[in-house]
Amino acid sequence: MLFNSLIFLVFAILFFSLWPLLKKRTNVRLSFIVIASFFFYGWWDWRFLFLIAGSGLLDYFSGIFLLKYPNRKKLFLLLSVVGNIGSLMAFKYSGFFAENIDSLFALLGYNTCIKCNIPDFFLVTPVGISFYTFQSMSYTLDIYKGTLKPTRNVIHFFAYLSMFPQLVAGPIVRASDLLSQLLKYPKTTEQDRWEGMRLIVHGFFKKMVIADNLAPFVNKAFVLENMSDSSLYWWVSVTAFAFQIYCDFSGYSDIARGLARLMGLNFKLNFNHPYTSLSIREFWTRWHISLSTWFKDYVYIPLGGSRKNKFSGHYNMWITMLISGFWHGAAWTFILWGAVHSFFLSLERIFKWPNYFKKSSLGRVILLLLIMLQVWVAWVFFRAQSFSQAIDILKIMFSFNGNVKTSIGLNEIFFILIGIIREIWIYHGFSKESLYPKSWSRTMDVVTMAILITICVFMRGPGNEFIYFQF
């Protein structure tokens, strides 16, 4: 079920109508969350509910056994990790590995088709599989580390794992954050409801108005048949994609956080205006925070982080970033995206070059643009359909040719500008008080919200699925 669909509107109205009646008793409340969430997910394809259930049960029992048999902790952790990674490998990466093995054999002169022998069912990536397997896995990893006590109630566990607001595209919420919240009586104040609605409306604005309106232009730009050789066109296209993916994904996170807030729960911030970063390192503390911290806590630090020496820090960071790239999609372009970010991060670590720009305001503006430039270059690999297409696009972008004959229309420019203005607003720390007296604040908040809702309805783009669903 998509957040931006009529069926979700019906679902949400029903859910929030019943929620006040059912939230009083813990087990009833959590059972309701599980049933609603399974219905929400099963709307796409009910068969994959067995996968969530299987993955969840594995981690639920692993958690219990980790505590019960401390001498066999490693065995149960291994079971959980193998089970989760195994399902990811089977459903998300089997096609990729088969294709690459076939290509390798072809290079050696053998014609094979391993992919042809994979059952069709395994070639369909279940929506949000990367999110819920990582969330499920973090549960057993935290128990293994001793930072979390397992729940003995399977309903409690599934309420945590399958919570519909964040089930298919995050944020990846840790059990240590959410389980305790779920067990408390969720009391909501007027401020909570307002904040929840504010997040939901801003999320829909980002998704439906900015991302969905930029999507047709970006999709058209990145088809293999596109022969445009204008630098301007490609800079605009990549900028459009940068704002499309940001608004698409952060929009989803905002809606998820808003829905949780309406339920009396609190999800941590997942995107913190990443395009205002003054270093790539800072970018990764602002972009998809729940995933970055997941990789930091469960991959980078267990690998040794930067504790041994400078080289190990780089080495571990590269491994983490390459895995992070691969997590996003079963294609070499995603791995390259991770590699490009690693390269820029290494340069930053070695030369600490952003520090030279931070001293003056002008320097900070230049730095902001230089960081954006690096992020944009990486996005080319992320969005391109192949390595060669990415290289071709980058060649044209950096040729800075004067070809201004492009198919860029008013719509694209308008929605990119909206995205930029939103970010600059934050970057310069503009406040509402600079526009109107503080006493007007409450009224203006209400009017602004009503205008935003109206814009979401009347300036919505063609309804696309959220990009991150595929990951």
């Binding site: 009529l6 007027e190 409801r193 307002w194 609605m197 309106n213 229309g409 008013l410 719509n411 308008f414 409450r442 908040d445 209400v446 009017v447 919200m449 009503a450 205008i451 809702i453 109206t454 309805v457 009347f458 300036m459 919505r460 783009g461």
Partner: protein, 300 residues
């Protein structure tokens, strides 16, 4: 409740949305109306007393509403489709929509030479409608028209676009498309028809099927009427000369099979593109056809 900002914002948003829905431009509205029209035409469950079959000249050229004024008490439905052929499939589909238990059972055939030519993808339009998923049908017929109030707009929609041709279409639930073009071009359709008729002729097999079907319907007590949809004199000449359309012979066989031929004259009507009738002419033709039918049917 006064302090509940969420509630206030939602109420205010409803007000803003009503204003936006009333005053913002509605690009894509015709597309929604067109989709609804075809879905409604294909999936009509009501049985009718008079069914009109034919191609675009039928569904643009005959208004059931105008006919109804002359034929009160008769429920009329225009079941014409774009490039629709007169073939066994369409006869069956048309008959399905006829009230066979009613006292009055009439089929009105719009016989154009084009509707009697073989085409590799004949019935394409009705087929494209017949196999729509259920949700899509409901979406097209019920939800999409409701949602047109909320039609999405983009900055470019506010720019005044100077259209070279203004094609106006109004879709009626009874199957008629009221249409006209500004500016008119009475030779517009000639090129494509000339191209088509240099490749193909009226198909004798389809003519035979038409005669056999007329006999079958007449035997069942269904009154069958036919007419040649008027267009322009040049178009008629082109059709007669290139498509090998033998109108007189067809009329004779049709009448022998029990059908009633209604003669028409292109000079009495006005076509905006050389093929289709302007809405006022379509009404005129509809009234004329209804009067002719009235003469031959006992309506009491």
């Amino acid at each position: 409740m006064k302090k509940e900002r969420t509630f206030l914002a939602l109420m205010l948003a409803v007000l803003f949305m009503i204003m936006a829905g009333l005053f913002l431009p509605k690009p894509g509205l015709v597309k929604v109306q067109r989709k609804r029209f075809w879905a409604l035409k294909t999936y009509t469950k009501t049985k009718h007393n008079l069914i009109i079959l034919g191609d675009s000249r039928a569904y643009r050229g005959v208004s059931p509403e105008a006919m109804h004024k002359i034929l009160p008490g008769i429920d009329i439905f225009n079941f014409g489709f774009s490039s629709g052929r007169l073939n066994k499939f369409i006869y069956k589909q048309g008959e399905k929509r006829l009230d066979l238990n009613g006292k009055t059972k009439i089929i009105l055939l719009a016989v154009t030479p084009n509707a009697l030519t073989k085409h590799p993808d004949e019935n394409a339009q009705i087929n494209s409608q017949l196999y729509l998923p259920k949700e899509e049908i409901y979406q097209r017929i019920y939800f999409a028209p409701l949602l047109t109030f909320f039609t999405s707009v983009k900055p470019e929609d506010f720019k005044q676009k100077k259209k070279k041709v203004n094609y106006v279409e109004k879709f009626h639930d009874d199957g008629w498309v009221e249409s006209y073009k500004i500016p008119e071009d009475t030779t517009f359709a000639m090129k494509s028809y000339r191209k088509w008729f240099t490749k193909t002729d009226v198909n004798p097999g389809m003519v035979n099927d038409l005669i056999l079907q007329t006999k079958e319907w007449s035997n069942k007590g269904i009154k069958v009427f036919a007419y040649r949809p008027p267009s322009t004199y040049s178009m008629e000449f082109l059709e007669d000369s290139l498509a090998n359309f033998r109108e007189e012979r067809l009329i004779k066989r049709f009448e022998e099979a029990g059908g009633i031929w209604i003669p028409t004259k292109s000079s009495d009507y006005h076509s905006y593109d050389g093929s289709h009738l302007r809405y006022d002419s379509a009404i005129k033709l509809s009234e004329y056809l209804a009067k002719e039918i009235k003469k031959n049917v006992d309506l009491e």
